[in-house]
Every structure is written in C-alpha cells, then in structure tokens.
Amino acid sequence: MKRTLAFFSSLRLAILLLILLTAASVLGTLIPQGRSFEEYTARFGGFTSLVLHLQLNRLYHSTWFLVLLGLFALNIVVCTLTRLGPKVRRARSPRIEVEPKSLAALKIRDCVKLKIPAAGAKSELQKILADAGYRTRETTRGGRIHILARKRVFGLFGSDSVHVGLLIIIAGGLVSGLSGFREGLTLVKGQEGPVPRSEFRLRLDDFTTEYYAGGGVKAWKSTLTVLEKTGPVLSKTIEVNHPLSYKGVSFFQASYGWDWDKTSIEIWARKKNDPAYLKKLTVRVGERRDLEDGERTALSVTKFFPDFVLGAGNEPQTRSNEPNNPAALIEGYRGEKFFSGWVFANYPDFSQTHGTADSGLTFELKRFDAEPVSVIELVYDPGAILIWIGCALVMAGLGLAFYWPTWEIRAILEETQGQADLVAAGSATKSRDRFAAEFARLGAALRRNR
C-alpha cells in the first residue's frame, strides 16, 4: 500500500506520463484522425488492421489514451494530497524554534552583535521586519529568542491551485464527453425543429447572409425563437461568435446552405426543327409539366445536384452543397418514359438527352432557386463550466507560483553580557536575488539603528 502510494505520488511517474502524453499527442497529429476505412488502407496498406486495433484512427478517444490521462489525474490527486497536509501545517502553524546550525546551512544568512539587550533587539528587529511587510512569530526557549518572519505565504499553494485546476479540467472533459449533446438542426425560414432531450422547440424566423463590398461573407444571421408548449418565450438574432442560450442549451450559427431537394428550376425547351417553339417551364424537383409541343410530351425533373460530379462508378453525385456545377436530371414522357438526361446550368453544350428515339427537343437549365437554410448547432455541455473553473484555478495558481514568492526569514537572538547576538538566515521559493537584496537591506537597517 505504502509503495503503491509512493509510486503514484512520485514526480518521476509524472514526468514519464508527460513524456508519453506528448508522444501520443504528436502521433495523433501525424495520423489523420477519424477518416474512412478506405483512406487508412490507402495509406497504411497491410498495417491498417494494426492501426485500427490500436485505435490510432481515434487516438484521443482511445481506451489507452484515456487510461494514460486517468493515470495522470491519479498521479496529480495522490501527489497533491500527500503534499497538501504538511504544506498547510507549514503555512498555519510552522515550527518557530530551530537549531542555529540549520540556519548556518542556508545560503542567505547574516550574523550581528548588537550592543543592546536581547529584548530591545527583538522589538527593533520585529519593527524592521514588519515595516518590510513580514508577519512575524516568536518563541523563547532556553534563553534563545526564535523569530520567524514570512511574507506571501499563500504563494506556497500556487502549484496546488494549478494541479487542482488541471484535475477539474480533466473532470470537465469527462463530463462533456459522457453527458451533453451536439446536434445540427437544419431549418429553412419559418420552419421549426425539436431540441433533443428538451421540452422546447426552436423556430427559424429569418436567415440572412451579409456580404462585404468585395464579395466575401460578412455575417450569417439567424433570427431564432424558442417555443415552449405555451408559446414563444424568447427571440434573438444569432451569428457566428454570438450564440443564444436557453435552459443550458446553446444555439450556434454553424453553417448555411440551400434546400436543394426542393429546388425550383426554370427550363427552356426548344424544337430543333421549329425555331418558333420556345417553352419556358418552372418546375420543382419531383414535379411533372406538359411541354405543349403538340406531341403530348411531359417533362419532369427528378434530381438536382448543386455541384455535379461523376463518382467512382460513373455514378452522378454532388461534391458539395455549393452551387458550383448545378445540374438537373430531366425525364420526358410520351405515355411512357421516352428520354432522359442531365442539363447543366454552366455547360449548356453538355446538356443532352437520350431516349428510345430522337425527341427533337433541346433543353437549357436557365435558373435554379432554392431556399437558403441555416444550420444551427444545438449544444448542451454541462462540462464547460468545470473547464472555466479549472482554467481560473490554473491561471491563479500560475500567478501565485511564479509571482507571489514566499519569503521566509528566521532569526535567533541570544544574550551574552547584556548584548544580543543575532543569527539570521532566509529562504525564498522564487526571485532569490531580489530576496537576497532585501535581506541585505534589512541587515543594514538593523546595523544603522544600532
């Protein structure tokens, strides 16, 4: 038990864990995370199963990485707990009485023979120390007066504040990962949608995109209304960096797009042998319209892709949701299906239909209109508050550890023939040279007064 405790409180373990965590983190940036199986086979070939087995494709969420973090947390807990008790004791009720030879062991020290009795020297010294901001304690034992003077004792706890802060951050991460949710909700203007694990719903009242004069996007703005069963309770226009929060759930402007499934398309149909014929049709995806071409041809739009590409098996698909290469799949019917083909907004020359016989018709995709959609990220993250508390403790602790150094002066006064012999020595957790200078200054002040 004692040995286990010693093992988990040791700083050597901390250093080993820091090295391992660093190495693992590096590895996780070299191996792309969260990609598809095919990408890993392409990259790692025969080693793919090893990579997947060791969970290197999701390294930061892998069992072994979490175990490493757990050990790290345990290390901090045990280390802090074993040191904190003695530290608190040292801060609250320190030993005042020390052997002169323990003072002689310190680097910063001084001794003076004062030409006044010990009692007078003591109050003189205490006054000088108090003026310099030290809190003094004293005790008299066997003819010796022991004085302990300290300042900024609280600085001793800087490292503990950092470590406890880290623990709280790790705990916060755990809470965020285990409870909480994140979900995208895609809404068009006027639409409402459910909020997971909540009674209320969310409605998008308005969605606008603002542009800079040069063309870049300046802002996406979604006006949201929170709907409780009783009706609307709250409205706010959100944008990137300015979310809305309600009952612990936050709504972020995550993305934007268009509702391509309901695109409305304007198609111009012409007859190859009749320049007088021009039919302009506005059709929604899924709808069928009569071409009024005297042949009872009906036209339907069955698909619309905003960014048409041919996939691996020459399968038409969309590469993105941006309207980079808009294309519609149209079908013509004369009784039964007569022709079909893709028409492209950007490439009219490629727009061709194929069928059982030549239809004598050509088509152009003139316009397409889809309603803009706003993608709202719904986030419930009960761990976040722990993260902020942890961060505050870490920063406060760093401030204390580096900039609130505890300085300690011990002095022993002994009287021989009505004259006081003073031995003093000091130590500092940080800024030793500034402390040494102050120590020398205090010594000089004492000598000047006497």
Binding site: T22, G28, Y212, G216, N241, F252, A254, D381, A384, M395
Partner: protein, 262 residues
C-alpha cells in the same frame, strides 16, 4: 508615412541593432551594446507605428494572415528582447534575438506572403481574436528568449556565463508559460466555445499547443524535482521552442484543420 515605409525603416534599425549587439559579443569593445539596445528600441517604436497604422486602416486586429502574424511575432520578440536586455543587462543574447527578429521580418516581407488585408470571415470577428493571438504570441516571444539563452548556454564554456544563461532561460519560461497558458489554451478554449460551441476539438493546432505546453511543464518539473538545471534543462527549452514554432508554422503548412485561416 505609409505602413510599408515604417516597416522597412524598422527592418533597417533592427539590422543595425543586431550589428552593434553582435559587435560587443565578438569583440573586446563593450561600449557598443547600449547602441544596439537603443537602435532596437527605435526599430520597435517604428514597428509599433506600422502595426497601429495597419490596424486603423484595416479596422481589425493585425494578425489575420501569415504576413500580419509574422510581423506581430517579430514585434513581440523585439519587445521581449528589449525587456530582457534591459532587466538583466545581457547584451549577448540581444544580438541573437535580433537575428531572429530580422529573419521573421524578412520572411514576412517575402513575396510568398500575401499582404493585402482581407475582410474578416465571420468566425474571426471577435474580441477573442485580439486576446487569443496577442497573448499567445507574446508568450512565444519569451520562449524565443529562453531558446536563445539555452543555445548560448549549450555553446558556452565558462561556468559563470552558463549560470547566467540557465537563470535567464528559467525566468523567461516563468513569463512565457503563464502567458502561453492564458492566451494559447485558456483564451483559445473560450473563443472556440463561443464560435463553435466546443472548447476543444483535438484539431492539430490545438494539439500542438498542448504539446508545447507539455514540454514546458516537463521543463518546470524536471528542474524542481530532478534538479535538472543546466544542460538537460537547456535541451528541453530548445525542444519547447521548436514545438512552439511547429505549432505556429508547421501545422499551417504540413497538417490541416480548423485553424486553416490563421
């Protein structure tokens, strides 16, 4: 005067400062060091004006593309150099630091770096852009001083000089570590939570900041408990700064992720 004139003038002053600093390091004449300091300070003043001008012209923080952020890093290293030389009276490191400043300014001025100030995409329109980037880069500037001090330590022969450099490196880490923690990790997490709704995404730039932070945590702990002052400490400080550099450059060019716009 325009921003680019000021920037060029600062560049020349930095070169002169480096010259005078290095002249003291490599000759017996010690009088020239103050000249190096004052020239560096003059360069810093003009550089500050250039940054202020750019900010007022573009209307946003001067670190939204590689040119701006390199210029700000150079400015921060020049500032950290002035502070440490003033406070510790060690002109020796001034010369090497000025060389770093010159390299950064030269890199920023290279034709490869697009200079036009583009309007900010929505994610960057935030007060946290200021806080996150400026504090992080200031922290990194102090890591740069620790790096130089550690290299000088590793090259030095006499013990007094080594002790001086070891001490300087530690003090710079004591400034850089809290700044980097605050700017790089804390402010970064706050901003991510505001903009994306998640404080941490294990994005490569985030992970490399964490790696840098781990290395300097190692630096601190090996010094306290294992008494690894001196050579091994110096090596860790050098690795730490290289990790910071990789976070800054390498991630943008070699790995990709959410931070791709900065």
């Amino acid at each position: 005067m325009t921003e680019s004139t000021l920037f060029a003038a600062a560049f020349i002053l930095y070169i002169l400062a480096a010259g005078f600093y290095l002249a003291t390091t490599f000759s017996k004449i010690k009088r020239r060091a103050p000249l190096g300091f004052w020239l560096g300070l003059a360069g810093l003043a003009l550089h500050t004006l250039a940054l202020v001008l750019r900010t007022s012209e573009s209307g946003h923080a001067p670190f939204t593309n590689m040119y701006e952020s390199l210029s700000f890093l150079a400015w921060s290293v020049a500032l950290a150099c002035a502070i440490t030389v003033r406070r510790f009276g060690l002109p020796r490191i001034g010369g090497y630091l000025m060389l770093i400043v010159i390299a950064l300014v030269a890199l920023a001025s290279s034709p490869l770096m697009p200079k036009e100030a583009a309007p900010l995409v929505p994610a960057l329109q935030s007060i946290w852009l200021w806080l996150h980037v400026s504090v992080t880069i200031l922290g990194e500037a102090f890591f740069a001083v620790a790096f130089v001090a550690s290299l000088v330590y590793l090259a030095a022969r006499d013990d007094a000089k080594r002790a001086q450099m070891d001490d300087l490196a530690y003090r710079c880490v004591a400034v850089g570590f809290p700044l980097f923690t605050l700017g790089g990790l804390v402010f970064g997490m706050v901003w991510a939570a505001k903009a994306w709704g998640t404080y941490w995404s294990w994005d490569p730039k985030e992970v490399w900041s964490l790696i840098t932070w781990f290395v300097f945590a190692l630096y601190l702990h090996t010094r306290i408990v294992m008494g690894w002052k001196g050579k091994r400490s110096a090596v860790i400080a050098v690795i730490g700064f290289l990790a910071a550099l990789f976070t800054y450059f390498g991630v943008n060019y070699l790995l990709n992720g959410l931070h791709s716009y900065a």
